[in-house]
């Protein structure tokens, strides 16, 4: 359990620095089990900061979403740092972006929090449907203590965690400037059980499955916008000349979009599951990402977002790289 007072003190200290523009963290959401990103611009703002298993968002998306609107005459660009609160998985996104030189190390202050698993909002809302006003969720070893309207229930973590947390190998931030609380030991291992099971299906079964999924896509691009690694200046689907993907929403274009996104994240996806969480249509996007992650791990012994000094997968070459897939 994270000491929220310690978190607030750290945020206060960070935002008090002259070279920090703002700190992004979490605050309580507006209803039920929601937590929501929040920003501290001045020391008092730190008071609303929280950290609980409901803090599911990967906030590293915010430095990447920084907009640079045209400056007025005489106005200087604000080049101060951004403070970001990160969990283990979130920190890997920063590492990956640093590796790709999408961000400079001295432009972020990383406030790390060890995390032993968050709660999938869909799962907990299904368990406690309806009109919930006051909730509190605490982390208690292998259980979540969920208090709803004054009654506390202890629920095994496996029942409420998203898939990524069940096999998380990096509960501690891999890179941070300040660490809150103590590092966690974890024996969890990514075994790709679901990918392996899916691989066994016939080609037709797999295609039918994905057709059904992609048919649901409404191309709102929530997957892209919630993803910290989708930070292209202009996304391929937005380009008009040439237009790579048509605006028509149909199976063909939807498939093009979802597959091109999966491939553009090959060797870059750090598995934070934000795309799947944000998808309003419930498309299991992590199934695609995990499959690619597994292949890359097996073929190139590479894992995204572990070391900022390493070169990105697609920017390095080893003479003994396997090449059976080249026709």
């Amino acid at each position: 359990m994270v000491d929220e007072k310690e978190l607030r003190d750290v945020v206060k200290k960070t935002i008090s620095r002259d070279d920090v523009k703002y700190v992004v963290g979490y605050e309580k959401g507006t209803y039920g089990f929601q937590a929501t990103p929040c920003f501290a611009y001045k020391p008092e703002d730190a008071e609303k900061f929280i950290f609980s298993p409901l803090c599911v968002h990967n906030l590293t998306v915010f430095p990447m979403l920084e907009e640079k609107p045209p400056l007025r005459k005489g106005e200087e660009p604000d080049t101060r740092k951004i403070g970001v609160v990160v969990k283990g998985c979130d920190s890997r996104a920063i590492v990956q972006i640093l590796q790709e030189k999408g961000l400079e190390r001295d432009k972020v202050v990383i406030i790390g929090i060890p995390c032993s698993g968050v709660i999938d909002p869909k799962k907990i809302e299904a368990k406690f449907p309806g009109h919930i006003k006051k909730v509190e969720v605490n982390d208690e070893d292998d259980k979540f203590a969920v208090t709803v309207d004054g009654k506390t229930q202890k629920i095994p973590k496996d029942e409420l965690m998203p898939e990524k947390c069940k096999t998380c190998e990096y509960p501690n931030p891999v890179l941070y400037d300040i660490l809150i609380g103590k590092e966690i030991k974890s024996k969890k291992k990514e075994d790709y059980k679901k990918v392996n099971a899916f691989e066994k299906k016939s080609m037709k079964e797999k295609w039918d499955y994905w057709e059904k999924q992609f048919e649901k896509c409404i191309r709102c691009y929530a997957c892209r916008n919630a993803c910290p690694l989708c930070y292209c200046k202009e996304c391929m689907v937005d380009q008009l000349n040439p237009q790579w993907v048509r605006r028509s929403v149909n199976l063909s274009e939807n498939t093009a979009w979802n597959l091109l996104r999966a491939f553009h994240l090959a060797g870059r996806c750090i598995g934070c599951e934000q795309c799947e969480r944000a998808c309003p249509m419930g498309i299991p996007l992590m199934k695609l990402n995990k499959k690619i992650e597994k292949e890359i791990k097996e073929m190139f012994e590479y894992e995204a977002g572990i070391s900022a000094e390493e070169k990105p997968l697609l920017a390095m070459f080893k003479p003994d790289d396997p090449e059976e897939f080249i026709l």
Partner: protein, 340 residues
């Protein structure tokens, strides 16, 4: 307005009758999602739901719509597209039905939209009262009710072993012509039961938005830093607008190959920077904050000024599915409290 009774056991007979002369669209469950789609048998629909993932506006205002087809080149031929056959949307919720009445203003405005309007004329709305509103439902904030019959042709309300049926207009009566054996006149006790069911549903709605004086208030706080505070966390996806039953912006594009082409209309979203990007490269809404503000202003200021109705029905979809909990109940209520 005729008040009738339809026994639950007769519901499938009613649907079967409707299917004889109309295409029927009803809520269908697939995996975890409920969507309105065409049914061929009554057993395909699922009425145990609160709201469909995508509002049924997409049956009248398609996400992708071919306006006409053409053959490119000097000898271009233009081919028009058939307008829909008679259609019934069965099980539409009162909030979603209201949204269609709101959309009428936009599509009947300065320019009549023949695609939407002809489809609208050919579509009958058979509503189903909402007996189990969910956490983010707030239709009562607009003086509406989850069992309002105002915007549908026929409204069914589940009152236990039967449906209380309100035939709202001529369209509703025509739709049920020749089915008099299925409907019986309602008794006083049935009407009372409906009132009870309605009250129970209204009482379940726990969240409320304060909209008193919001139109005038928004005029005064356009430049207020409040907007940055509520909108800075927006990640800029289009979920809120695509899933909004009253959002109706679109883009028009020609999509062609060497031999054939089509002019298509697709949903667009004001959350997309490209939406306001001008050919010169100038963008009047350069930041996400500007865009979130526009979404609120369009619904709570521009639309009421133009058409005298707030363009929000309180379905709560944008709240349910926003990945960062931008909550329109909270935003509008707080906007009302901002010091101008």
């Amino acid at each position: 307005m005729d008040k009738m009774i339809l026994l639950k056991d007769d519901l499938s007979k009613f649907i079967t009758e409707l299917l004889k002369k109309n295409k029927v669209f009803a809520p269908i469950q697939s995996d975890d999602t409920i969507l309105f789609d065409q049914i061929t048998r009554p057993s395909e629909m699922n009425l145990d739901f609160c709201k469909s993932e995508i509002p049924p506006k997409n049956l009248l205002f398609h996400q992708t719509e071919t306006l006409f087809k053409f053959t490119p080149g000097t000898k271009a031929k233009i081919e028009s597209v058939d307008v829909d056959e008679k259609k019934v949307i069965f099980g539409i919720r009162p909030c979603d039905a209201k949204s269609i009445a709101i959309l009428d203003h936009a599509f009947k405005g300065d320019y009549e939209d023949p695609y939407f309007l002809s489809r609208r004329d050919n579509t009958a709305l058979v509503g189903l009262s909402c007996n189990k509103p969910e956490i983010n439902c707030f239709c009562t904030s607009f003086d509406d009710s989850p069992a309002s019959s105002k915007y549908v042709d026929i409204l069914l309300t589940d009152i236990g072993d039967k449906y209380y049926v309100e035939m709202n207009n001529e369209k509703g009566k025509q739709l049920t012509e020749g089915m008099s054996n299925l409907f019986k006149h309602a008794k006083e006790s049935d009407a009372k039961k409906k009132k009870e069911v309605e009250k129970k549903a209204v009482d379940m709605i726990s969240r409320h938005q304060k909209t008193n004086g919001i139109v005038e208030k928004l005029d005064k706080i356009f430049e207020n830093p409040f907007w940055k505070e509520v909108a800075f966390k927006c990640v800029g996806c289009g979920t809120c607008t695509y899933l909004c039953p009253t959002c109706h912006c679109f883009d028009i594009q020609d999509e062609s190959t060497l031999t054939k082409g089509a002019r298509v209309r697709v949903w667009d979203t004001c959350m997309n920077p490209e939406y306001t990007l001008q050919a010169s490269g100038y963008n009047p809404r350069p930041a996400r904050t500007n865009r979130v503000k526009n979404r609120i202003y369009h619904k709570y200021n521009y639309y009421p000024k133009n058409f005298d109705v707030i363009a929000c029905v309180g379905c709560g979809r944008c709240i349910d599915l926003c990945p960062v909990n931008i909550d329109i109940i909270d935003v509008v209520t707080r906007a009302g409290e901002v010091k101008a």
